[in-house]
């Protein structure tokens, strides 16, 4: 476990040696070339998979980008798909930057979504802005606390966080499913879902007929806040020092455990907000099993941009394009949307190899 976290923490060392684009002291694009190259390889792999299974790759990719960027609504839908990924990739970036492997964000996403829905359909007679604030706060707190549990188990007792976070995700998914089937069962609904939230709790739609809504703006604001925190606050400083070299942090008097607890908590908050955005902006209710692994996609984004929050912002938008295009591609070219997952897997795979070769380079230097 130890080796793993340290490898992550050192992952972004080459960040500053590629392209030094700076903007008020913050880098804009981390190693753009590398990201583009990895993407190209992924698309090539996707094409090979399609070719092997007898599909027309060019047509599929054409459909993919047509349906994600081809019109105003298409673009809006891409931004909509990017919204939860923005939150989850920020959560993953912060965790990786501190050298922690937090895969528990998916659970926070579900619990946060349910918390938001519950507030939304319970306190229906509150004023709209009060209700929206309450919903967001509830989701953030529930999500944050959920992620803190494996963090505390890891720090106090040394329980492996990777396995516990993954298994607790299943618990969270099943628990929320239980809630809408048990205590919060709505008679007469065919699917496992909660009541609708009050109109006052719904987030404004930005570009109808697309479901793109205010949560996208919130996500962008949150991403900017995260970037600001990472570069301009004492907490961000602590996270960077702990991630770069926990020994150095400890000798400097930084409380490493407390920093990691904060990081887990923030990851959970972001996961909870991602869930709240889906409930308050898209579905207007909690739907069991609504997330197709959004937190894992966030992890993929973070791996790809190697822990630069600003890069994550851009790549999350790109993943929104893939996700939203994938659904329509299936209709237009009869290539299943699961192709997008294959592309993602290829991206992760190459990110893994790059991680490894970085460590090897360091070994040679020493």
């Amino acid at each position: 476990m130890k080796a793993k976290t340290s490898s992550l923490s050192n992952a972004d060392k080459s960040r500053k040696t590629f392209f030094l684009n700076e903007w008020f002291g913050i880098q804009i694009i981390p190693s753009t070339l590398r990201v583009i190259l990895t993407l190209a390889i992924a698309f090539l792999m996707g094409a090979i998979v399609m070719w092997v299974s007898g599909k027309d790759a060019l047509q599929a990719y054409n459909a993919l980008f047509q349906s994600s960027l081809g019109s105003r609504t298409a673009i809006a839908n891409s931004l909509l798909a990017a919204t939860p990924i923005l939150f989850t990739s920020m959560a993953a970036v912060i965790a990786f930057r501190a050298g922690v492997f937090n895969v528990g964000v998916e659970g926070s996403l579900y619990l946060g979504a349910f918390a938001a829905a519950w507030v939304g359909f319970t306190f229906t007679n509150l004023q709209s802005w009060v209700l929206i604030t309450l919903c967001l706060c509830a989701s953030a707190i529930v999500g944050g606390v959920w992620c803190l549990i494996p963090g505390l188990l890891k720090l106090r007792l040394g329980v492996d966080e990777l396995v516990t976070t993954i298994l607790l995700n299943y618990v969270a998914i099943l628990f929320t499913e239980y809630l809408v089937n048990g205590p919060f069962l709505v008679p007469g609904l065919a699917n496992a879902m909660s009541e609708q939230i009050a109109p006052g709790a719904r987030l404004v739609r930005l570009m109808p007929p697309s479901q793109l809504n205010l949560s996208f703006i919130i996500a962008i604001v949150v991403a900017i806040i995260v970037i600001y925190i990472m570069h301009k606050t004492t907490l961000g400083y602590e996270i960077r020092m702990v991630g770069d070299n926990p020994d150095f942090a400890r000798w400097s008097g930084i409380n490493v455990s407390s920093v990691i607890e904060k990081v887990m908590f923030i990851g959970g908050i972001l996961g909870g907000l991602a869930g709240a955005g889906q409930v308050m902006g898209v579905h207007y209710r909690f739907i069991a099993g609504f997330s197709p692994g959004l937190a894992f996609t966030g992890v993929t984004v973070a791996l790809l941009v190697r822990n630069s929050p600003l890069g994550a912002l851009l790549v999350a938008l790109l993943f929104g394009i893939l996700r939203s295009g994938g659904a329509t591609m299936e209709l237009m070219s009869d290539v299943p949307r699961d192709l997008i997952r294959v592309l993602e897997a290829t991206l992760i795979f190459f990110a893994a190899i790059e991680f490894g070769s970085l460590i090897r380079r360091r070994r040679r230097v020493n």
Partner: protein, 502 residues
């Protein structure tokens, strides 16, 4: 003809010449001591012999034939085996399994344990070992584990055994046991190179001794014809001190006080045994000792990174249970032992490294928001006052030279005039100018009323700046003196445990 001859071995690493035209000549059937302080080049020489390093220059002859040893496996084929300080044993495997590891006798897919056992027994009887074969090595005492290491080499038919400070981990009884084993091996015609810095053991066990100092051979003696005093002199060298700084003029109240401090290493072995000392304002206390005598644990105990028994007081406050940050708030500054791992964050720039102990305070931050301008100004100021050669505070620390890296640490730790400074090996690996700068900085701080705990492997340094010197040996303080009242020779004898053990 000598059994082993190494001729003109030179090996340099960036910045240091570890071996400088070293000659070593070992006769068959002898125990040959390789003597020297830490950093004298003993280990490098033996790693070359064992195929772990390639020499820049020089030749190796075995029984008169020149050989090229490219890796440890090749060394073993030439009959050379090495017992490292850290044992190469697999804890959960049994004694027998460890002995034959990688050289198992097979019967089809399985191990031919009967035949294997017979061969091991033969070795045990021939050399007089007594060991259970089926017990996991983790259950053996350290001494017995060491014997397993030796038998492992004998099983692989080694004729020349290298032992790297074999007694540093042993109890006195186990040491006696080891000596008996080594004497048996000698009688059976095996040749042994015995790396050590303990003179008593050389006298007791060895036939010849080669003494290394700063990478050079400074003596080659027949042990029976010499005495410990002469060996100690060869080891620590002549007393030529670089520059003696003026001693402390006035001693203030006690700023750092350790009272009955004991500590254990990560495996639970005691490494500090009831240590007490105090340092006054305006005083530099130097700690001398062979590396691994408990220095790291003293530093960690004071910093707050190791649990201890006993009390530590800083500036009158009981800090035994205080967090590292609280200690720093009370005026503690630390130059850690491992510059690149503990003292610096090599991934980031100078300014980030300079603020790691003060980023949470005004003017560096306010309401948890970093104030770039103040940080930058502070970094500029430190760069200027400490003469760090760097274009801007945003230069990455890993691109600085060792001396400039150390100045970054000094600038960070010293700029608030700390009450207490713990400086561990502050000039290790630095050039003359940087060394001088570091020492001057420490002396200046002392004159301004700081209490300084200086830990160094370099006697020159200790004599040059300390107001008082104590000697640490195997976790105990065994000697204390003012530098002008003692000598290298005396300190050297205490460091090697001479007067302590008898």
């Amino acid at each position: 003809m000598a059994f082993l001859e190494m001729r003109g071995i030179t090996k340099s690493f960036p910045g240091v010449v570890a071996n400088d035209r070293v000659d070593l000549c070992v006769e068959q059937g002898q125990i040959h001591a390789l003597l020297g302080e830490n950093g004298a080049g003993k280990t490098t020489l033996m790693r070359i012999l064992y195929g772990m390093y390639r020499p820049d220059e020089g030749k190796i002859f075995l029984k008169g034939r020149e050989v090229q040893i490219s890796n440890p496996q090749a060394a073993i084929r030439f009959g050379i085996g090495m017992v490292h300080q850290e044992f190469q044993l697999v804890p959960s495997l049994s004694v027998a399994e460890n002995i034959v590891l990688g050289h198992e006798l097979r019967r089809g897919f399985f191990i031919n344990s009967r035949e294997q056992r017979r061969k091991i027994r033969e070795i045990l009887e021939r050399f007089g070992f007594e060991l259970p074969l089926d017990v996991p090595v983790s259950q053996l005492s350290v001494g017995a584990q060491q014997q397993v290491e030796i038998i492992k080499l004998l099983y692989r038919k080694a004729d020349l055994l290298i032992l790297d400070e074999p007694t540093s981990v042993l109890t006195p009884q186990e040491t006696e046991g080891l000596f008996k084993v080594l004497q048996n091996l000698r009688e059976e015609g095996k040749t042994i190179i015995y790396i050590t810095h303990k003179l008593r053991e050389v006298k007791r066990l060895c036939d010849r001794a080669t003494v290394l100092r700063q990478g050079r051979v400074v003596g080659n003696v027949i042990v029976a014809e010499t005495n410990e005093r002469e060996l100690a002199n060869l080891m620590v060298g002549e007393q030529i001190i670089d520059e003696i700084f003026p001693r402390s003029k006035q001693r203030g109240e006690v700023l750092l006080d350790l009272s009955h401090v004991s500590a254990w290493d990560d495996r639970g072995v005691p490494v500090l045994k009831d240590i007490s000392f105090s340092i006054h304002a305006g005083e530099i206390l130097g700690i001398a000792g062979i590396q691994g005598s408990g220095q790291s644990e003293i530093i960690e105990a004071v910093t707050g990174l190791r649990r201890i028994a006993g009390q530590i007081y800083l500036n009158g406050n009981d800090i035994t249970h205080a967090s590292p940050r609280r200690r720093r708030e009370l005026g503690l500054a630390i130059i850690p032992e491992k510059r690149k791992e503990q003292g610096l964050n090599l991934q980031t720039d100078i300014k980030d490294n300079l603020i790691s102990i003060r980023y949470f305070k005004f003017p560096f931050s306010r309401w948890a928001i970093l104030r770039s301008q103040s940080i930058s100004d502070f970094a500029q100021k430190i760069i200027k006052t400490y003469g760090i050669v760097a274009k801007s505070p945003r230069v990455l620390v890993r691109n600085l030279s060792g001396g400039n890296q150390q100045k970054v640490i000094l600038g960070r730790e010293m700029s608030d005039s700390p009450a207490v400074l713990v400086a561990a090996y502050p000039t290790r690996g630095l050039d003359v100018a940087a060394t001088q700068f570091v020492r001057e900085t420490m002396v200046k701080a002392r004159d301004q009323g700081s209490a300084i705990l200086l830990i160094s492997a370099d006697l020159d340094e200790l004599f040059s700046v300390s107001d008082r010197i104590v000697v640490l040996f195997e976790g105990c303080l065994v000697f204390e003196a003012r530098p002008e009242q003692t000598s290298f020779e005396e300190i050297g004898l205490y460091m090697t445990g001479h007067d302590h053990e008898g």
